[in-house]
Symmetry: C2
Subunit: 355 residues, 2 copies
């Protein structure tokens, strides 16, 4: 298969981990006789520094002319603590998602047997957890109209949803549930928010088309509790943008390491794959950033194009690296100096020479 | 001391647990020679059923003529799953908070030594947790303008904040931190939301008036993770209405039982005290509802009026009931038939006859 892949390493540890994912994809191409053509472009704080724009036009154009985007991470603390900054790195990713029509963010949350002891939650609570979170990604309050009064003393954000935005992700979630445990949980705040009531109405209607899938509802505050009390109750979680941001980040600690979690953002035409961790600026350049989430996002990319054998080989390489303690310090209790690059090298070697 | 106390038992298990709190307050009045005058009124689904209004005018008037409000719980599932319902029980509590100017909700979160094993989190994670969450209660998206388009296909909610709304609760939070561990953490989403950037700006300014208190910031999605990963890092958490709803409910599971958690909602003139649990309709009338949260909210009421000795006596009674397993089934591994009323009776007796 020939795939054009745009690589957007971004800020902080983004470039370091993305380099490992790219290396692993190249090894896959070699072994399976695919042709993956990588083109890099700027996004985030680094793009603001160089061009004043967190998503330069060339970057967007490149992404629209490729089959998939491999994304690193975005964000720099110098913007976070400066309320007066007009342009922010995160706007680059938000705009890219919007421009590519990536309306659904999919996050698998699994409790890995080898990492159960790393979780802050009790083993009995998390064992067997297997959730897929479908978060709406281009609507809601993150994209709604923002206002600040002239005197600077009043600010507002609008949370708005339209039926079609809810329908298209709801279909994805119900379809996913059909090949899983057959359960969708809609997380909303329908007892208070008008937009949540629209979600509940539309999703209830769509559920009728999937009689083999059960639908239940949870208010977001209750969902934040249930995720800790009993994560095993969930199969597919469907929710709006901001609730999905909060609930999926909360869920990310269940498995004991954020350094292993990948995600896909999909639309009708494009798809983007990225680790869920951020740019982690404190770790930049130290060789300690865990590349596995980025490598697993490359595996999700392959799955998106039905290259399941290839994706599985990557996952086996990851499993083996964990088993042999070829991991960065965040997960390593045995060796102290395994770097980001060494982990990538190990998985690259495994692909050429698995056993 | 003479106190006029409005009692709003509300829906579901509200009346059962509030009756125990009232009983305990009466015992306190007797022992300490106070005069507590209780007046009951309707609120919530029961008020809708009887008058069409979740907060009837008589109820509001009563609350405005009393020193404090003792509140039960509100909510009925028949409204939750009916997107077309025009009037909702929750509107009663939201309106009451607004009318009484209760702009700050204060929720203590503690890991009780006797209940450590009940938590879904590991003992090492939660031991020593002691957080006070200050949630803004009358602004933000829960109260912002709500709209649905004429065709019913688009709905929106507005999240709006003004400087004065942020300032008044920020002062309360910084003052609380001064008598605690001297740390305020502002939870917001300032990398995306305009209203969050106003919070960050105003709170940063106010922090200058409290040089003995340190201030740090967390994005709400990260806060949802940190609450599980390391709750001990927090002292006072300050946040806007919806983020506070989610984060404080998430935090409520740390201690191992929601049945012990009380809260205060305060303004410049009025104060309301309530358990954090909801109306729990499935348990209504079965005698299994845990009254301790409601009883501890009565203790918070006494503390609000500087009656610390009285409040401590209630807390001792609660501790003793826990130690002797005089608790409802949710916490009881020894006896199976201790009812809501029996727990209230035990604490009432303890007050008349402590040892
Ligand atoms: Mg997030
Ligand atoms: Mg809540």
């Amino acid at each position: 298969m020939k795939l054009n892949i745009a690589v957007l390493p971004g800020d902080g540890i983004g470039p370091e981990v993305t380099a490992q994912a790219k290396k692993v994809l190249k090894a896959i191409a070699m072994e399976f006789d695919h042709k993956f053509i990588f083109k890099e472009a700027l996004a985030g704080a680094i793009a603001i520094d160089k061009s004043g724009n967190p998503l330069p036009d060339e970057t967007l154009k490149l992404c629209k002319n490729t089959d998939a985007v491999l994304f690193g991470a975005i964000g720099d603390p110098k913007f976070d603590n400066d309320p007066s900054a007009k342009v922010r790195p995160e706007q680059g990713l938000l705009k890219l998602r919007k421009e590519l029509g990536l309306f659904a963010n999919i996050r698998p949350v699994k409790a890995y047997e080898t990492l159960l002891s790393k979780s802050p939650l009790k083993k009995s609570i998390i064992e067997g957890t297997d959730i897929s979170i479908y978060r709406e990604l281009t609507g809601g309050i993150y994209f709604g109209e923002k206002r600040t009064s002239e005197d600077g003393n009043t600010s507002s954000d609008l949370c708005e949803y339209s039926r079609f935005e809810i329908e298209r992700i709801a279909h994805l979630a119900f379809k996913a549930a059909q090949s899983r445990k057959g359960k969708v949980t809609l997380v909303d705040k329908a007892n208070v928010l008008e937009s949540s009531r629209l979600w509940r109405k539309v999703v209830t209607e769509i559920a009728l088309e999937y009689p083999d899938v059960s639908l239940d509802f949870l208010f977001v505050d209750n969902a934040a509790m249930q995720m800790i009390l009993n994560p095993k109750q969930f199969d597919v979680i469907l929710t709006e943008n901001m609730f999905g941001d909060i609930i999926s980040d909360e869920a990310s600690v269940i498995g004991g390491s954020i350094g292993l979690l990948a995600s896909a953002s999909v639309g009708d035409k494009y798809a983007l794959f990225e680790p869920i961790h951020g740019s982690y600026p404190q770790a930049t350049g130290k060789g300690i950033a865990n590349p596995i989430a980025s490598i697993l996002s490359a595996a999700m990319l392959l799955e998106h194009f039905q290259l399941f054998e290839e994706a599985n080989l990557i996952k086996q390489g990851v499993d083996k690296s964990l088993k042999l303690h070829i991991t960065t310090p965040d997960l390593n209790s045995k060796y102290s100096h395994i770097t980001t690059t060494k982990v990538g090298d190990f998985i690259e070697d495994f692909i050429s020479n698995p056993k």
